[in-house]
């Protein structure tokens, strides 16, 4: 198989109760690239990335068909430990959701739940993760303050640090900037561009300029169908489908 593929989605269908949310989706997510997923509300973007770390299983009454491979291995196989999948695939949510704990403990959380006890290691890892998430300078003097005292943008970068601390291979971001102001958004975008050196990033976004600015590949979804998936430049300059063009030129959505 192609060594540059990290996640392979094959013939995936997904249902909330009887309602279909994704139909026959197949796509490959490339290693160390940023893949943006765009489309109108309710098109299945968030649903799709929640399938990548099996968060869909926390919602009752849902059904998934098809396979999703991470580095060639089906993460939905019965032999796979879901906790292990979630450790390898980190996630950042739409609204910043730090725990009501200290900044330090938020980042250390993933290490602790994975059984790491070495205090020195945890301290170093927390510092490194906060640096990687470009928030270290702002919080280094108040690591033991409650994380809820940070601004929205800082909270979101803290959540990124929390996800990075367990060294995932893939980072899923579900509209990470939708609750943030333009300055914080710019910071997160710069950060994401920097992170792709080490991680494979899948980002769901409502903001088409954001996709155009940072993504290498862009997938356009509508009503649960993958309409078009290509290099970002091509999607935004010469889309092959009429609906894609209508959407990106703002004719609907």
């Amino acid at each position: 198989m192609d060594n540059n593929i990290r996640i392979e989605v094959k013939d995936v269908n997904f249902y909330y109760g009887k309602k279909s949310a994704l139909q026959n989706v197949s796509m490959d997510i490339k290693k160390n690239k940023i893949t943006a997923i765009i489309g109108p509300s309710g098109c299945g973007k968030s649903t799709l990335i929640r399938l990548f770390n099996r968060m869909n299983e926390l919602i009752p009454n849902t059904k998934m068909e098809g396979t999703i491979n991470l580095d060639g291995e089906n993460i939905y196989s019965s032999k796979i430990d879901v906790v292990e999948v979630r450790r390898q695939i980190g996630m950042v949510f739409q609204k910043p959701n730090p725990f009501p704990k200290s900044i330090f403990e938020n980042v250390a959380y993933g290490l602790r739940v994975n059984g790491i006890k070495d205090k020195k290691y945890i301290r170093e890892k927390v510092e490194k993760s906060l640096k990687n998430a470009a928030i270290w300078e702002e919080v280094k003097n108040r690591l033991f303050d409650n994380a809820l005292g940070l601004s929205g943008g800082q909270q979101q970068r803290l959540c990124i640090a929390r996800a990075l601390a367990v060294e995932p291979e893939v980072l899923l971001m579900d509209e990470p900037c939708s609750a943030l102001d333009p300055t914080s958004t710019r910071k997160i975008e710069e950060l994401v561009l920097d992170l792709k050196k080490k991680y494979t990033i899948v980002i769901v976004t409502h903001n088409m300029q954001q996709a155009a600015r940072i993504a290498d590949y862009t997938a356009f979804f509508m009503m649960g169908d993958l309409i078009e998936y290509d290099i970002t430049d091509k999607i935004f300059t010469k889309p092959s489908k009429k609906v894609t063009e209508d959407y990106i030129t703002g004719r609907f959505g």
Partner: protein, 293 residues
């Protein structure tokens, strides 16, 4: 039209303030009828006295045995209602299916609606003889029997308030925890319970305040001996049971009468303190989770 609106405004305002009037009224009466005892017995002598012989000549008005009786029964009740109440709240909130939830929660709340006399009756006729036999005690009516009954009575309070606290924990905390590779148990113990912690403490304190103030059941099942308890397995008499049992036989305006009111006054302060603490903690809880005041 304007006049009519004013009438409504004052009507509802007076309804809203009615409970305040009752509270003030009760407080005034408690003070007026309770304070005179301290002309005869010093406050600390009253609170710390080891003997309660209100009808002897001269009488002894020491309520320490009653206070300790109340605390023994309430403390024992905590050991029953905290695991039962918090445990069932965790089950209902975290593990139970939607179907189980819709059956379990109302069922537990029905427990709260059972009249206390029924608990007392059940405790006296079924539980006390059973405990006497099973544990080989000289009498079945003990502090422990009272704790058991009160514990069961306070369980619905603890359960339903804890369950509310757990359901106030934002779902996003749970998602964040799972997404970092935590399992269910870790998510529960490291994120959900600490986040709901002060809400659960509030539940426990309110359960305690319910147990301290309960009268009928303890009167029926704890044996009524006004002596300082050394174990949970001996008869005790609580503050509430003392008032209930003796008020009918005392002479209006006598020292005994004033002493009973003073006990009521102290009980009133104990439950007031519990409720204030519970309110403070739950306020902090709502602020901590960003739910506002």
């Amino acid at each position: 039209m304007i006049k009519k609106e004013k009438i409504y405004k004052y009507l509802f305002a007076s309804l809203a303030f009615a409970s305040l009037v009752f509270l003030v009224g009760i407080t005034i009466v408690l003070f007026k009828e309770g304070l005179p005892i301290f002309k005869e017995v010093g406050f600390f002598e009253f609170l710390g006295g080891k003997y309660w012989y209100p009808t002897y000549e001269p009488a002894d008005f020491g309520i320490l045995p009653l206070v300790l009786g109340s605390f023994a029964v309430t403390g024992g009740a905590l050991f029953i209602c905290v695991p039962l109440g918090v445990g069932s709240a965790l089950y209902i909130n975290e593990i139970a299916s939607q179907r189980q939830k819709t059956i379990l929660k109302p069922l537990i709340e029905i427990l709260a609606g059972v009249p206390s006399i029924v608990y007392g009756f059940f405790g006296m006729v079924v539980v006390a003889p059973f405990l006497q036999k099973a544990l080989g005690l000289p009498v079945g009516q003990t502090a422990f029997t009272g704790s058991l009954m009160l514990g069961i009575m306070a369980t619905p309070t603890v359960c339903s308030i804890s369950e509310d606290a757990l359901s106030f924990v934002p779902k996003s905390f749970r998602y964040a925890s799972f997404a970092t590779g935590a399992n269910r148990w870790q998510t529960l113990t490291k994120v959900i319970i600490p986040s709901a912690g002060s809400g659960i403490s509030t539940a426990i304190i309110l359960g305690m305040s319910r147990a301290v103030g309960e009268t009928m059941t303890v009167l029926m099942v704890t044996g009524g001996a006004a002596v300082i308890p050394h174990t949970l397995f001996q008869p005790v008499r609580t503050m509430t049971a003392t008032i209930a049992a003796e008020m009918g036989e005392t002479v209006l305006g006598s020292s005994h009468y004033h002493a009973l009111f003073a006990i009521g006054l102290i009980l009133f302060f104990i439950t007031l303190v519990f409720n204030i603490i519970a309110e403070l903690i739950s306020r902090r809880f709502r602020i901590k989770l960003g739910l506002g005041r």
